[in-house]
Symmetry: C2
Subunit: 166 residues, 2 copies
Amino acid sequence: MEGRINRIKKQLHAQKYKLTPQREATVRVLLENEQDHLSAEDVYLLVKEKAPEIGLATVYRTLELLSELKIVDKINFGDGVSRYDLRREGASHFHHHLVCIECGSVDEIQEDLLGEVEKVVERKWHFKVKDHRLTFHGICHRCLEKHEEENRLNKEKEFEKEPEKV
Amino acid sequence: MEGRINRIKKQLHAQKYKLTPQREATVRVLLENEQDHLSAEDVYLLVKEKAPEIGLATVYRTLELLSELKIVDKINFGDGVSRYDLRREGASHFHHHLVCIECGSVDEIQEDLLGEVEKVVERKWHFKVKDHRLTFHGICHRCLEKHEEENRLNKEKEFEKEPEKV
DNA sequence: TCAATTAAGTATAATCATTTTCAAATTATA
DNA sequence: TATAATTTGAAAATGATTATACTTAATTGA
């Protein structure tokens, strides 16, 4: 954690920015919630717990800054808010997302699924790929399992009724 | 065009919605600007030319409705606005986009690039894919060609200078 | 060290896209 | 035709984000 903060500090310094206490508190919240996809408001509320004097505008500015430096990625899943997602260290590509249309959960895929696809795009469309956004919408494994369970129970119920029909 | 409108009319009726004059005017604008990625405001201004009495709220409501019926897809390229893109007839999957980080242009890829990738996701993550969003950010072929042209000119210039250096 | 410049922060107001409200108009239905 | 349901338009409300004005902290050069 501390190492990671230090490296981010260096990245900021390299561009003549400082890691102020407010910025550090914001980065810490992002690190502590790495699995989540927090909105600016979410980040603000969490940072406030440690640094109650911080302003919402500062959080927005910090997230914007971290975006520019490619330390976080700003993503949008179609609800009205932008979400901010820490880029994994050493990750050459932005990770992908699985959004469940039933429960709303968002899971991440770290694997590089697009290597071949990007080559095709560069060759066929003469487009120099710098970044990508890939999101799948569908039903997550948790909801699928729930459905299977329900189906199983329904079948059992039908089976119980069978004798009554006679 | 008329055939397409009629089929959309049927899709609406199938769900107990009517193709009101306002809705028809909106759909026509989308059909006439199929290559573009219009925002709600853009659509509103274009519809107004034909049906000046229409309200912005109606356009938003119509686009929302068409989204639900999967006639249009709502997309977001990270600027503050949602854009609405007509789904090609018979297209089983949503098309992909190439966003140029230099000139801001948005090109479309109709080809299915994700067939294999989706199979991997379903198998490996146990996630039932229903839809996807794939956007590449990079440099479009027009900007790339411009760069090549500039490089060519710069080299020529250097060549001209050569004698001066001696 | 100290004044002067610059960067960054806070709080609040302003902006902009989108949604909601509600009365009026239109359309379907009995 | 009367009644109910749907749809609309205008305006107000909302909610996320950005800009503004002012303050505070940090940095620099004499």
